[in-house]
Symmetry: C2
Subunit: 197 residues, 2 copies
Amino acid sequence: MDLGLLYSGGKDSTLAALLLEDFYDVTLVTATFGVADAWDHARRTAEELGFEFETVELNDDVAAEAVEQMVEDGYPRNGIQQVHLHALETAAGMGFDAVADGSRRDDRVPSVSRAQAQSLEDRHGIDYIVPLAGFGRGAVDSLVDETLDVTTGPSEEIPKADYEAELRDLLADEHGEEAVAEVFPDHTQTYVTSLSR
Amino acid sequence: MDLGLLYSGGKDSTLAALLLEDFYDVTLVTATFGVADAWDHARRTAEELGFEFETVELNDDVAAEAVEQMVEDGYPRNGIQQVHLHALETAAGMGFDAVADGSRRDDRVPSVSRAQAQSLEDRHGIDYIVPLAGFGRGAVDSLVDETLDVTTGPSEEIPKADYEAELRDLLADEHGEEAVAEVFPDHTQTYVTSLSR
């Protein structure tokens, strides 16, 4: 069975890939608005880990709406949620038998309800799988310690290929760096460099 | 890391074990009230699959309360939920670093809320993991087809070692076979005989 996993190069989506690899033919899929090249870091990590890798282009209008939503809210949650749902819809149309993402039990965003999951599955005739949905922060941290080498730092210095990097760029273009600092205060990111085991 | 997985010999808890085995030292734990020997079938499946196996004795008072709850309700959901939470508490006290169960995304019961999960983890200093929490019915069915040989039939003929078998026996003792038929109408069960891959 072919599975496309939305992939950022971060620890959660990498761990999700490792949990699924014995059961599916996993392709790591990095979604991009084409405004930054953070996806290239995800590609390098995917290669280092031995996974198939693809990028998929998202709709610019969704990015623009998400940026306006974040400015209006003063925090990124709802904007990132919109982009994530759009990325899932996009991945679900790529011809995989199943799509997955790296959301954890304790994530506030992205968060896909059971009804949204079932709707995605029914409309596209696929399975939608969230391998870390039943893992809390402690369990994820332990597994990461045991299996991955990671680099951690402030979001602006870490080349992680989640939507955030591109949304930050778009936000800066439209509303200036102050808007980025207001919407994303003191956020740290990690990305995976290799397997440690 | 040592992980105790509540195990019935059914397809869900067996699949959960396979998802975790690369990441934890998994012991399959079958909880029993000591009123039936269905645990022996779980032991045989565990042995066939090459997992460590233990039984753990649950509190008789919890069984008695669950049976009365089911008779009062006319359906088994709340009674089974009570027993499952008690089994998790019991497993959490056995000295493992993590405990897990085979609940799926679409299960109505057992269902452990995020707050209950976090409370279990904090009070016992363990991780609580639900490997199938992010897998819907379709995904579980596909994975079972690809990985397991299973036998399916009516609950009364399938020797699966979940609490249901023992709760049925207790219900029959206390309230007669009619009560069993009323509380558990036409329920089918599956249990795993071996790996197919």
